[in-house]
């Protein structure tokens, strides 16, 4: 039974600054069921972190302007009192961050920090909280949790710190877990372990998970749905199969081409997306991606002039692009062809 836990509808988060209005999040909508995972993908500055911080009520700056709706289990969070959101934070929704060392307080033991999260939301004594913290540490795979609970963060390895962060986030059985680049600061070998852990715990708790990352490999492994963000807007939104197998937005094509793949035996060359992400103060006119897009010239100037609407290209698969379906198929085939030719050429050269 799919039951929706989180519904985000037309979310805008704007920050007025001295230099102008920063439109960090500009019209984002998605929904997430219990037990499902949403991957939010995008480059730095695409607004993916601000979206998640906005849901948690952690976007800093009291001058931020939020409009739209965030409904957690039917409860509207936009415009809710700070105290109500605080009560939900850590209990109903929890978050883990990119750098576990700087995200843990250096002066308190790991156990105390986890127990603290449990204590705020539960009417229990310190002993019970501590017992719970040790239990949580054990559950996320820390060996000898009872002794390690008295260690300080600097005595933990990078992977163990992230495990401790996960233990802290899950200590009150949250229904929504947001992981903001959970593996970016970790060794490659540890990354897989942490992702496995998140997967296992999600199965166990039947919680909804949002994974924010620029690493498509991470998303491919875990996500049911994928939201591709560009310049604070939605570029593409759909199921993981659709987005990976029939990506509809040229930006997604670029992201996929720039990702190393080991499932294909070709000596594929990584293709970077040319240019840099736009400033969120001066977002390009029309489609924000058009200055970097190879295909912006095929839309009769609409890419430069009109902000593309999200259109359904397949059931449940939304793409914000002015290209027609035919054009999209043609360019996509062309791209695949180019790739194959390029790698074939390299292989011949390698042989000779």
């Amino acid at each position: 039974m799919p039951d929706t836990l989180l519904e985000v509808d037309d979310l805008h988060i704007h920050f007025p600054t001295d230099d102008g209005l920063v439109k960090a999040v500009d019209g984002i909508s998605f929904s997430l069921d219990r037990g499902r995972t949403l991957g939010i993908v995008g480059e730095s500055g695409s607004g993916k972190s601000v979206t998640s911080l906005g849901i948690m009520g952690l976007h800093h700056g009291s001058n931020a302007r939020i409009t739209g709706h965030i409904k957690l289990d039917g409860e509207e969070l936009v415009g809710a009192t700070a105290n109500r959101i605080r009560e939900l934070r850590g209990s109903k929704m929890a978050m883990i961050f990119q750098d576990p060392l700087s995200s843990l307080h250096p002066f308190y033991t790991v156990g105390a920090q986890i127990a603290e999260a449990y204590l705020v939301h539960n009417q229990v004594g310190k002993k019970v909280a501590r017992k719970h913290a040790v239990e949580m540490l054990g559950r996320v795979g820390i060996p000898q949790p009872a002794t390690r609970a008295d260690d300080y963060p600097h005595q933990f390895s990078g992977g163990m710190r992230q495990r401790a962060m996960i233990a802290m986030a899950l200590s009150c059985d949250p229904e929504l877990l947001i992981a903001d680049e959970p593996t970016t600061a970790l060794d490659v070998t540890v990354q897989a372990q942490i992702l496995d852990l998140i997967w296992d715990l999600q199965q166990e708790y039947h919680s909804a998970v949002i994974i924010i990352t620029h690493d498509l490999g991470v998303v491919a492994e875990l996500s049911d749905d994928i939201l591709v963000m560009y310049a604070g807007r939605m570029a593409e939104y759909g199921s993981a199969e659709n987005t990976f197998d029939q990506p509809g937005h040229p930006y997604t094509w670029g992201l996929l081409a720039s990702m190393p793949r080991i499932d294909e035996a070709r000596l594929e060359r990584l293709v970077p997306i040319k240019g840099t992400p736009p400033s969120l103060i001066n977002v390009p006119s029309g489609c924000a991606f058009h200055p970097r897009c190879r295909y912006a010239g095929f839309t009769d100037g609409r890419s430069q002039a009109e902000v593309p609407e999200l259109r359904e290209v397949a059931p449940g698969h939304l793409v914000a692009c002015h290209l027609t379906g035919d054009q999209r198929r043609r360019f996509r085939t062309q791209l695949d062809l180019e790739e194959t030719e390029a790698s074939a050429a390299r292989m011949t050269k390698g042989d000779g």
């Binding site: 605080r86 307080h105 250096p106």
Partner: protein, 335 residues
């Protein structure tokens, strides 16, 4: 933790020995290297226009004609065990810790200093409490209300506080609150045991004047530290847990902010215990600072030496306390 403390203790003792060597060298070795013989050195320890016999007697009494290493050994021994100054038939006993014997006042140095220590101690500690509480509180509020009228006003005031010298604020305070409106008339030291109320009342002006300077400094330090800490990732984590903002600020933010401030506080207090010279002179409080000034004016070398050693001792001890405190506060230092 215990090994850490023991290690620091040994280091401290070593440091004190080095301090004694340097001080000794300044007073006894350098004049010699500069070409003074022991007779000329001895003339500086007697009163004005001495007879040749008197100088020779002092030279003999202080053992200035002995080899330098022997003199240093005697100097150290005197500090630890006390010593007898012998010359012919006359013997003068100088009990430990003997920092020397002043021939100008005809007394050992230490007993004269001892009576001045409580004055400086009262002044420094009272002021320290005021500036620590005041400065840190203002700094925290300023950081939390950054950009508001309170922040701008208090930081402006802090700038004024740092810039105004004590002899200026001190005299103004005396003029206003001691003479014009005699709320705190005739400021003079009354020992705590005699009359605690009077002790406090008479020290209020010097405390505030001395504290003003440091409070301004600490307010700025705390504000800067607090602003930095509150943008740390672990503060975001604390908020993500759903902690109350009060807990986030005081348990997580303040703890990290105060650590470097504890260090600076220890050093400042140690320095002040050696004599808050300007404040003491301004308010005519006879503490170690005024003692130092008088010793320098009278060119009383044993007294200068004594007060130098004592001030160095306070600073070294303050250092030790700070190190241990730091290890208590910051677990990363312990391991």
């Amino acid at each position: 933790m215990i090994t850490f403390i023991v290690r620091r203790l040994f280091a401290t003792i070593f440091l004190l020995i080095v301090v004694s060597m340097i001080t000794f060298a300044i007073f006894f070795l350098i004049p010699r290297l500069a070409g003074q013989n022991s007779y000329e050195l001895a003339t500086q320890y007697v009163g004005r226009n001495p007879t040749r016999a008197a100088v020779l007697a002092i030279e003999d009494k202080l053992g200035l004609n002995a080899p330098v290493y022997l003199q240093y050994a005697r100097f150290l021994k005197a500090i630890v065990f006390g010593t007898h100054y012998n010359s012919g038939t006359s013997t003068t006993y100088c009990p430990p810790p003997c920092f020397g014997y002043s021939f100008k006042t005809q007394q050992p140095v230490w007993p004269q200093m001892v009576s001045d220590i409580p004055v400086t101690l009262s002044l420094a500690i009272g002021a320290a409490v005021i500036w620590l509480v005041g400065g840190v509180t203002i700094g925290i509020i300023s950081a939390l209300k950054r950009g508001t009228l309170f922040d701008r006003f208090s930081m402006g005031l802090a700038l004024v506080g740092v810039s105004l010298p004590i002899f200026f604020t001190g005299l103004i305070a005396l003029e206003l609150f001691s003479y014009k409106w005699p709320i705190f008339p005739n400021v003079q030291y009354v020992s705590f045991s005699t009359n605690p109320l009077l002790w406090a009342r008479n020290l209020v002006l010097p405390w505030i004047v001395l504290a003003l300077l440091y409070a301004a400094l600490y307010a700025r330090l705390t504000r800067a530290g607090m602003l930095e800490t509150m943008s740390e990732d672990f503060i975001r984590t604390a908020r993500a847990k759903g902690l109350r903002e009060r807990t986030v600020i005081f348990k997580h933010g303040l703890r990290a902010t105060l650590t470097p401030i504890v260090t600076i506080f220890g050093m400042d207090l140690g320095l002040l215990l050696g004599g808050a010279i300007i404040t003491e002179v301004t308010f005519s409080l006879h503490g170690l600072g005024l003692f130092t000034v008088e010793a320098v004016q009278n060119q009383d070398l044993p007294e200068i030496l004594g007060v130098t050693m004592l001030a160095a001792f306070f600073i070294v001890i303050a250092n030790l306390v700070v190190d241990i405190l730091y290890a208590v506060v910051d677990p990363r230092v312990r391991h």
